[in-house]
């Protein structure tokens, strides 16, 4: 913990204020602890899906999936994002954190909520609502209370962010325009407000309903509002991940975006379109319940505005890498810069894998299954899980891991332990997750294998049980291998992070300056390599989208047969 009220980072020139720095550290540590819990709980989940109910009972599967989901998707992600928000507001904008006491209050509330959910998941079978507690499935009141505690804590953190931003804006600490990373963090914070409000609108009545004060909640309304929170949270993740991408491009190769203007417009497009994406959780409801126009506007035009934002980043982020490397002198041919990139730097490999896997696996599958009628093939199947393993895991989590490899030396001022393990960690995690995701996408869309299902082998001994065809065994094996590799990668990350905190050798200012000097490369460079790659990606996207619709056209006729 820093003793002086502020210091200047020797590598980045950032002014680090001690209150903000301490909060960033504590939130990051909490994030890693919940990541570890989430990693441990995925073991029974995966064993059940791959080997069957004789290895892991359906009850344990539902319990483990509940705890895995909450620890990963909510606690690991949000604690890390709060760390990122404080870092962006204070360090990048060169201003002390506003209301540090409120920030601490938020931290303890979030921690209390997270611990309570873990306690309930471990002790009360009644709360095994695997991640999505759709009413009228009922959990004990404490469950909803825990979520509310956590959400209030997160709202306080977002308030602290806005207050700090306001302070920086008034004092003009950052010059004429705020840096891109702060702009991205601001986008994430705005999205977080609407997300957390949806969460409050869903969970406050659910809490009173669970207590018996409110007699009934409408199931359709509740599911829609829940997803305003559930998917809204993923849009916060998206904005935070892209912010981490831009930061990593700068940290690893001094890469800066080819167009500050377009990158900012892309973030702005997220604000315009993306929160309405939650409507795509209601795509298999008939037009009599939700009109074609309502669905089409929300999941068509508005979400595609946000997809356009993502495609802009899909060019800008790799182009930032190409610019950085070309300006460093790797100018040979179309892809010379890519071949000679610092692949052994875990921050760099994590960034590249995150961008590629997010694009090819997470993004394309999400747009495809979110396409109005194509959802008939994907709804509640493993394809959905394959999609979000591509987005929040191979994409966002890997990006956050990459950023942690800079957080440790720059904020905690410690040399990474086990550098050899750190070097292979992003590859283990990323490629393992890619296998897992591919297997799940295919199991879902082709075989309709359901998600959140405790026994796809004997169906609980049901007299009407059936068997999936032998081809499925191969895909399940792939899922198991991919899951194991990713698990090892995840544990390796925790080992390096925690090991560095506990046993990493302290870094001197001089040490930080020589090893981690951040030097933005600027100049005129044409990102021709990325241009070629981006065009190839667009062709892949088009083919994948059309292929899925061809596949849909083979199904039983429904609707207007």
């Amino acid at each position: 913990m820093a003793i002086a009220l502020e210091r200047t980072c020797p590598a980045t020139g950032l002014r680090l204020f001690s209150a903000a720095e301490t909060l960033v550290k504590w939130n990051a540590v909490a994030a890693v602890v919940f990541l570890l819990l989430g990693l441990l709980w995925v073991i029974p989940s995966t064993l059940n899906r791959v080997l069957g109910p004789e290895t892991i009972s359906p009850n344990l599967y539902y319990q483990a999936t509940f705890l895995h989901g909450w620890n990963m998707l909510i606690f690991w992600v949000l604690f890390f994002e709060v760390a990122l928000l404080y870092f962006a507001a204070s360090a990048i904008l060169k201003t002390p954190l506003a209301w540090p006491r409120l920030a601490w209050g938020g931290f303890w509330l979030m921690l209390a909520g997270a611990l309570l959910i873990n306690y309930l998941g471990m002790t009360q079978p009644a709360s095994f609502l695997p991640f999505t507690p759709y009413v009228p499935l009922k959990a004990p009141p404490l469950f909803y209370l825990a979520i509310l505690l956590f959400a209030v804590g997160a709202i306080l953190a977002v308030l602290v962010f806005f207050a700090t931003l306001y302070g920086a804006w008034k004092a003009r600490t950052y010059g004429a325009s705020m840096p891109l990373a702060a702009f991205g963090a601001l986008t994430a914070a705005i999205l977080a407000v609407t997300t957390l409000l949806s969460g409050a609108i869903a969970f406050i009545p659910a809490f009173f309903w669970s207590l018996g004060v409110i007699p009934e909640l409408n199931a359709l309304w509740w599911r829609h509002t829940f997803w305003g929170f559930g998917h809204g949270a993923q849009q916060v993740n998206l904005a935070a991940m892209v912010t981490a991408w831009y930061l990593l491009a700068l940290f690893t190769v001094g890469g800066t975006t080819p167009s500050e203007r377009l990158s900012r417009i892309a973030f702005f497009l997220y604000l315009l379109g993306i929160n309405l994406g939650s409507a795509h959780h209601l795509l298999t409801e008939p037009t009599g319940a939700l009109s074609s126009a309502w669905t089409w506007v929300n999941t068509g035009y508005l979400i595609h505005v946000a997809v356009l934002g993502s495609l802009i980043h899909a060019f800008s982020v790799p182009a930032a890498l190409e610019r950085g490397l070309r300006l460093k002198g790797f100018t040979q041919g179309l892809f010379g810069w890519l071949l000679r990139a610092p692949w052994s730097n875990p921050g760099f490999s994590a960034l590249v894998l995150s961008v590629v896997l997010f694009g090819f696996l997470g993004g394309t599958s999400g747009v495809t299954m979110g396409s109005y009628d194509a959802n008939l093939k994907a709804h509640n199947t493993l394809m959905v899980v394959g999609h979000f393993k591509g987005t929040v895991v191979a994409g966002m989590t890997l990006a956050f891991m990459g950023l942690t490899y800079y957080l440790l030396p720059l904020l905690f001022r410690r040399r990474l332990v086990l550098p050899g393990l750190a070097k292979v960690q992003p590859w283990l995690f990323g490629l393992g997750m890619a296998l897992l995701s591919l297997a799940m996408l295919r199991l879902g869309v082709v075989y309709g294998m359901p998600r959140r299902f405790g026994d796809t082998f004997t169906f609980g001994g049901s007299a009407l049980a059936f068997s999936y065809p032998p081809e499925v065994t191969f895909l399940l094996a792939l899922m198991g291998i991919g899951g194991t590799l990713a698990l090892l990668g995840g544990l390796a990350f925790v080992l390096v992070a925690v090991g560095t905190l506990l046993a990493g050798r302290p870094l001197s200012d001089e040490g930080i300056r020589t090893a981690y000097q951040v030097k933005p490369e600027e100049g005129e460079v044409r990102p021709r390599g990325v241009y070629a790659l981006a065009l190839a990606f667009l062709v892949f996207f088009l083919v994948y989208y059309l292929y899925n619709h061809w596949f849909l056209s083979q199904a039983w006729f429904i609707g207007r047969p």
Binding site: T12, L14, Y62, F128, T132, Y134, P136, L137, P179, A219, L220, R223, P258, S259, L262, L282, T284, E285, P286, T287, G288, S292, W296, T299, G300, H304, V305, V307, L311, F315, S316, S371, D373, L376, H379, N380, T381, V445, G448, P450, R451, F459, S462, L464, F466, V518, P520, P527, Y531, L535, Y545, H549, L552, S553, W556, F557, I558, G559, R560, P561
Partner: protein
């Protein structure tokens, strides 16, 4: 250099030629192609979500299902009646942890699936995989459909409905 302040006149900077092409292609792909394709499919496709929806009292729906199953009953499968209705309305009820009744249909005929849950959310999905539909208590969906392939289909609940969710399996039999 505090983590890269934008260059001075960034608002007036020109976008490079490669990125300009990319921007045009990306906008055409998302705002024009994706949105239009989705709309066209929805208006002209043979697999869409056009259908009716009704608020329904679970008990009233259950009675209609029972009556339907009795009228067209041709047999029994593991204690659940098998109903073989003519083309037209067919009823299906989702209730933890069963599908009721077993439906016996003819390939190529047009049916109107009247399906509802009478307790908690359930998911309608078929194996071999055709499509999935989300169900809620209190709502009846009416979907016209044609089984275009014959065979024995398993009905699988794919929305978590309780600790025996995975045992909620039913049948739809489609004859040539």
């Amino acid at each position: 250099m505090p983590i890269h302040t934008p260059p001075k006149h960034w608002l007036g900077e020109r976008v490079g030629p490669e990125e300009r092409v990319w921007l045009v292609l990306a906008a055409l792909f998302t705002l024009v192609f994706l949105s239009a394709f989705m709309g066209l499919w929805h208006m002209t496709g043979r697999q869409t979500t056009h259908g009716e929806a009704y608020r329904v009292d679970p008990n009233a729906f259950r009675e209609r299902v029972m009556e339907f199953a009795e009228r067209y009953r041709v047999g029994e499968l593991n204690g659940i009646p098998v109903a073989a209705p003519p083309p037209g309305d067919v009823y299906l009820m989702a209730q933890t942890f069963t599908w009721y009744p077993v439906l016996k249909l003819k390939k190529g005929e047009t049916y109107r699936l009247r399906v509802a849950s009478v307790d908690v959310p359930h998911g309608f999905s078929l194996y071999p995989h055709e499509w999935s539909i989300q169900l809620y208590p209190g709502y009846e969906w009416v979907y016209a459909f044609i089984p275009t392939k014959a065979g024995e289909y398993a009905l699988v609940c794919n929305d978590y409905c309780g600790l025996a969710h995975h045992a909620m399996v039913g049948r739809i039999l489609v004859e040539e």
